[in-house]
């Protein structure tokens, strides 16, 4: 179809546009899976050479082959860790974090092969193996990361329904104000239930609750269950007051659910970074110990 959409353009400004617009491609398919291919070939190459290169007495980190893989692997780990800095520094230059993430993900995966082949499968209870284990855990958490990055954004978008975080909180506050007014005519017991929902702290639910998401039982739902029984007040034959409160409680529950779901998805999208990053720091420490001990004691 390309010919259909060809455009005549001055080159200098076309270039600016090109630079500015970044193609509509995800980090995984960035540049037609360039980094996936690089990483694939690299891994394949390492596996093949591992099999073909004859190292005496057997493969281990200390052979010339092991040293080569070790240097490449350590270099990669340091570079992969640098993403944490790159991400937070919007310096000039034509880098794109998408490109970095793409390379990070695929080259990070190739470490499984490079790192493991580097050990020559000589694992034991020592600092060297600790570094390897940490590396594998970082990679594993990264793999979880890309699964959530690939699957959750859509749910986040759908749950948001064009509302911003502030708007959700605002909306809850508005409903609360309306509830307070609407609860005035209620009987004492009913009003107390409503007040209990208003006093409930929606956000102070703690880490576990963040993951639990919507639908949980809380003061709002209890009040809803309680007030939605069929018992009109004597002086309010049409049950207007209770109906209004019920409608508002329903709205409140839905609003809380939206907020909880939002918090849950965000938590799932972020939680792995709280493993990935600290483990990276531990890995860097273990890696340093590993390298230092190799050069001092080998």
């Amino acid at each position: 179809m390309a010919s259909l959409f060809s455009r005549r353009e001055g080159s200098a400004h076309a270039e600016i546009e090109e630079r500015r617009s970044a193609t509509h491609e995800s980090f995984l398919s960035h540049r037609a899976y360039f980094w996936a291919r690089v990483s694939g070939f690299l891994s394949l190459f390492v596996v093949l050479t591992y099999v073909l290169v004859d190292v005496e007495p057997r493969h281990n980190g200390g052979s010339w082959y092991g040293y080569t893989l070790g240097t490449v692997g350590a270099g990669l780990i340091v570079w992969l860790s640098w993403l944490g800095v790159r991400k937070r520094r919007p310096t000039p230059g034509s880098w794109s974090l998408k490109g970095w993430t793409s390379a990070h993900v695929y080259l990070g995966m190739s470490l499984v092969v490079i790192g493991t082949m580097h050990t020559g499968f000589q694992l034991g209870w020592n600092v060297h193996t600790l570094a390897w284990v940490l590396m594998m855990l970082v990679i594993l958490s990264g793999a979880y990361g890309i699964t959530v990055y690939a699957t959750l954004p859509q749910a986040l978008s759908e749950n948001r329904r064009e509302m911003t975080r502030e708007q959700m909180i605002e909306s809850l506050a508005t409903i609360d104000r309306q509830l307070e007014a609407a609860a005035q005519p209620l009987a004492r017991k009913d009003a107390d239930m409503v007040i209990a929902t208003l006093e409930q702290d929606v956000f102070a639910a703690g880490i576990i609750a963040r993951f639990r998401g919507p639908g949980g039982r809380d003061a709002t739902r209890r009040a809803l269950d309680h007030i939605s029984t069929d018992r009109a007040y004597d002086d309010d034959a049409d049950d207007l007051a209770q109906q209004k409160v019920r409608a508002l409680l329903g709205k409140r529950a839905a609003q809380i659910d939206q907020i909880r779901r939002q918090m849950q998805i965000k938590a799932l999208l972020e939680v792995w970074l709280y493993i990935h990053v600290p483990l990276t720091i531990a890995l860097l420490a273990a890696l340093t110990a590993h390298v230092v001990s190799v050069f001092y004691y080998w």
């Binding site: 400004h13 076309a14 970044a22 230059g93 986040l156 978008s157």
Partner: protein, 789 residues
């Protein structure tokens, strides 16, 4: 001198009095010296008002407050001013410095003259048990509606109308209050609704689902205000043209066409306080007989003209420009000065490039000396068309807001005047003959540009003669599918959407930016219209009669060939979409609806917009953080806010409109289009907030630049400072208190102008969710390919 200062309100300087409390008032332009005896320097509103009140008292100025002038009769030397309270004042000369706040805009509807239509609401508690409709979705309208509905005991049924879906013009706080009131059922908010007719006890509304009449006992219209033009015209003063933006005709001593009446300040077209004050000084000097006084802007102009060859004085240059350049001949010396203040002059050597093809630019040029050559063929720079002394060029960029169509070089040593977009628009609005001349030239050049090399102005003279510029409101259909008419059109301003009815639903075929033509198929092969074309936004098209176009095709076979080639490729797109519709109907509908959604959200007038693919966005806000960190610590984008359709999200961020609304009313003219097409606000911003109110997408914020944060490493290692991204309001406030307050100025996206590598938001997105697109690149069937595959 015997004098009196008449003031409508109970305090002086009402415009400045109405600024928000504590506003930092700017004293731009800094290159201009202050002549007036009253002091003025940048500072807080209160301090400035105090100084003036004190100096007015010390200077023994005769002031009469609460004295609104309602009419001026008589002649120079014997005027009689009528005040609102009925008293009159005699005067030999009058100076009008009444600003532009003026009077409210009146409704232009049948029935608008009925007595229950009002434009002001002094006391919202004065009405009970009424059905009241508020027209106008700005702050004034919302505040009035809230006031009327505040006390349920009054029993008013309050409805507020909004032409759009969002209240983008109003302050966030007001919108929230309104939405709450709506949720409580205290106010009825009707979106996408505009008034059609006012009747006794009823108002007819145009809604999305057709017309509807609702009960209405009172209408409060708050749709902005009009300059006090009628009042001034009533005093016998003529304006330069009928255009809304026109100013009174003035002599170099600020005298109007009514001898003895003078106009200065914002009303004379000079909205900056320093200009206003200087003119106040000048006009009194003139009245006092000091006719030799040089205008205060003389040194500024002298500096502008310093680089030109042939040592002429400022007055001489002004006269050269005025007499040589055709479109300037009607102007008065004062208008020339004003125009030149907003313009630049350049001298070019033979062969020097003035601008290049595809460069963004919206200024217009006039040749005062020499001539230029236009390279009409992009592939062969030797094919050129000359433009002679006195004529203009660059007008297409000005009118369409699009990039330059060709490269232009000086043919000999040449002196040109470059009118900034604003200056040029003002010129066209105030000088009708200039407007006509530019229109004709622009139509001719646009035809030449579209149908390419080989044509001369003589070939198309007949066509241009019959051309007509038609303005088309947003959404209006220009060509109806199946119709038999045979005209051909060029999009001059704005953009069009081409749709075809497939299976009862309009399917989006393509997007036509300004500078494209349409309607050629029916003209060439005599068929019925094969698709509908309607305006994506408020647009202007040039209409040519089909026969005239056919005559041109008959005379010029190469043009026919070009047109046929274009037609074939358009057919190909249409056929492609039709075939997809048969097999992937759902995908095509989705594509059509997405295109419509994007057009509704400003893509139709955008040059470059940020979109977020919410199938990829993980909500990390790295885009916002990167924006803040590369722009003085304040983010110019609000990722979460804005509309979403089919996971395509249009965040609140500048669209870099072709005709930026924000530029319309900026006193220091601080908003420009930069070298890459970005719309930027420069450091001369005075913080008046006009642009914020004028931007329909709510992307401009007014904020003070926060002090610098500690560096990234000290945050990473020691937790110093607030970390990456925009610091919290509390942090900024605390730091600002330490560092000394700075002025709140307008800030918005500048597309990372000057930052190598381009926009930080896009570069900082880890997943590729954030993309920047231009409408003609994004609204193509290529997207359909993407969706389907």
């Amino acid at each position: 001198m015997s004098h009196v200062l008449l003031e409508k309100t109970d305090h002086l300087s009402d415009t400045i009095y109405k600024y928000q409390k504590g506003k930092h008032v700017m004293a731009t332009p800094s290159s201009l010296v202050l002549r007036s005896d009253l002091g003025f320097e940048a500072g807080k509103r209160e301090a400035i008002l105090d100084t003036w009140d004190r100096q007015i008292a010390d200077g023994k100025v005769t002031v009469r407050l609460n004295a609104e002038v309602t009419g001026i009769a008589g002649q120079s030397g014997a005027f009689a001013l009528t005040l609102k309270d009925g008293s009159t004042i005699d005067a030999e000369a009058v100076v009008l410095a009444i600003g532009t706040q003026g009077n409210p805009n009146l409704l232009k509807l049948p029935g608008a003259e009925l007595p229950h239509v009002q434009y002001q609401l002094d006391d919202p508690t004065a009405y009970v048990d009424e059905h009241i409709t508020v027209i106008g979705s700005g702050d004034a309208g919302i505040e009035n509606a809230l006031g009327l509905a505040a006390d349920a005991a009054q029993g008013n049924i309050v409805t507020i109308l909004n032409r759009g879906t969002e209240f983008a013009r109003a302050k966030g706080a007001n919108v929230k209050l309104l939405e709450e009131a709506e949720a409580d059922g205290r106010i009825f908010v009707r979106r996408e609704t505009s008034p059609l007719e006012v009747r006794e006890r009823e108002i007819v509304l145009e809604t999305r689902d057709g017309q509807q009449a609702i009960r209405c006992d009172r209408i409060i219209a708050r749709t902005g205000s009009q300059p006090p033009r009628a009042f001034i015209e009533g005093c016998g003063v003529e304006f330069t043209s009928a255009d809304r933006a026109a100013f009174p005709k003035l002599s170099p001593s600020f005298e109007t066409t009514q001898a003895g009446i003078h106009v200065i300040g914002a009303l004379a077209g000079y909205p900056l306080i320093k200009h206003c004050m200087n003119q106040g000084y000048d006009v009194i000097e003139f009245l006092d007989g000091n006719t030799g006084l040089k205008p205060a802007d003389e040194p500024i102009l002298a500096e502008k003209f310093a680089g030109l060859p042939g040592r002429h004085t400022v007055d001489e240059w002004l006269e050269i420009f005025r007499t040589r350049v055709i479109i300037l001949q009607e102007l008065s010396p004062l208008q020339m000065r004003e125009l030149m203040l907003d313009s630049t002059v350049h001298a070019y050597a033979r062969g020097e490039v003035i601008f290049t093809r595809n460069e963004p630019g919206s200024s217009m040029f006039a040749i005062a000396e020499g001539s230029v050559l236009v390279e009409v063929d992009p592939d062969d720079p030797s094919v050129t068309v000359p433009i002679e002394t006195g004529s203009i060029f660059g007008e297409v960029g000005l009118i369409s807001g699009r990039k330059r169509g060709s490269t232009i070089r000086a043919a000999e040593p040449t002196v040109v005047v470059e009118f900034s977009r604003l200056a040029a628009l003002k010129l066209l609005a105030t000088a009708p003959s200039a407007n006509r001349a530019v229109n004709r030239i622009s139509i001719e050049r646009q035809v030449l540009q579209i149908f390419g090399a080989g044509l001369t102005p003589a070939d198309i003279a007949d066509l241009v003669e019959e051309a007509e510029v038609v303005s088309v409101p947003a959404g209006e259909v220009v060509i109806e599918e199946g119709a038999e008419d045979k005209d051909i059109y060029i999009v001059r301003v704005g953009s069009m959407v081409v749709e075809k009815d497939l299976g009862g639903k309009p399917v989006f075929l393509s997007y036509l930016p300004a500078g494209s033509y349409f309607g050629e198929m029916a003209v060439i092969d005599g068929s019925k219209r094969s698709a509908s074309v309607r305006a994506a936004i408020k647009s202007e098209v040039i209409r040519f009669p089909g026969e005239a176009f056919n005559a041109l095709l008959d005379a010029k076979p190469e043009i026919r060939e070009r047109a046929l080639a274009d037609m074939a490729s358009r057919r190909e797109i249409n056929d492609f979409i039709e075939s997809r519709k048969a097999s992937f109907g759902g995908a095509v509908d989705m594509y059509s609806q997405t295109a419509q959604f994007l057009v509704d959200n400003g893509l139709g007038e955008a040059t470059d917009v940020l979109l977020i693919d919410e199938q990829l966005c993980v909500g990390c806000d790295n885009c916002e953080k990167a924006c803040a960190d590369s722009h003085d610590g304040l983010s110019r984008l609000d990722r979460e806010a804005g509309r979403t359709y089919a996971h395509l999200h249009v965040p609140t961020s500048c669209r870099h409109c072709e005709h930026p609304h924000c530029m319309a009313d900026c006193p220091p003219n601080a908003i420009h289009r930069g070298p890459d097409g970005e719309v930027v606000i420069d450091e001369t911003c005075i913080g008046c907030g006009n642009c914020q109110r004028n931007c329909p997408y709510g992307v401009i914020r007014m904020d003070a630049k926060p002090p610098a944060k500690p560096g990234l490493l000290s945050w990473l290692l020691f937790g110093a400072g607030p970390g990456p991204g925009e610091a919290s309001y509390a942090w900024r406030k605390r730091k600002a208190a330490e560092a000394g307050e700075s002025a709140k100025l307008a800030i918005k996206c500048d597309m990372c102008s000057g930052i190598e590598g381009g926009p930080a938001c896009v570069r900082a997105c880890p997943t590729g969710a954030a993309i920047r697109v231009s409408p003609e690149r994004f609204l193509t069937v290529a997207r359909l390919e993407e969706e389907v595959d």
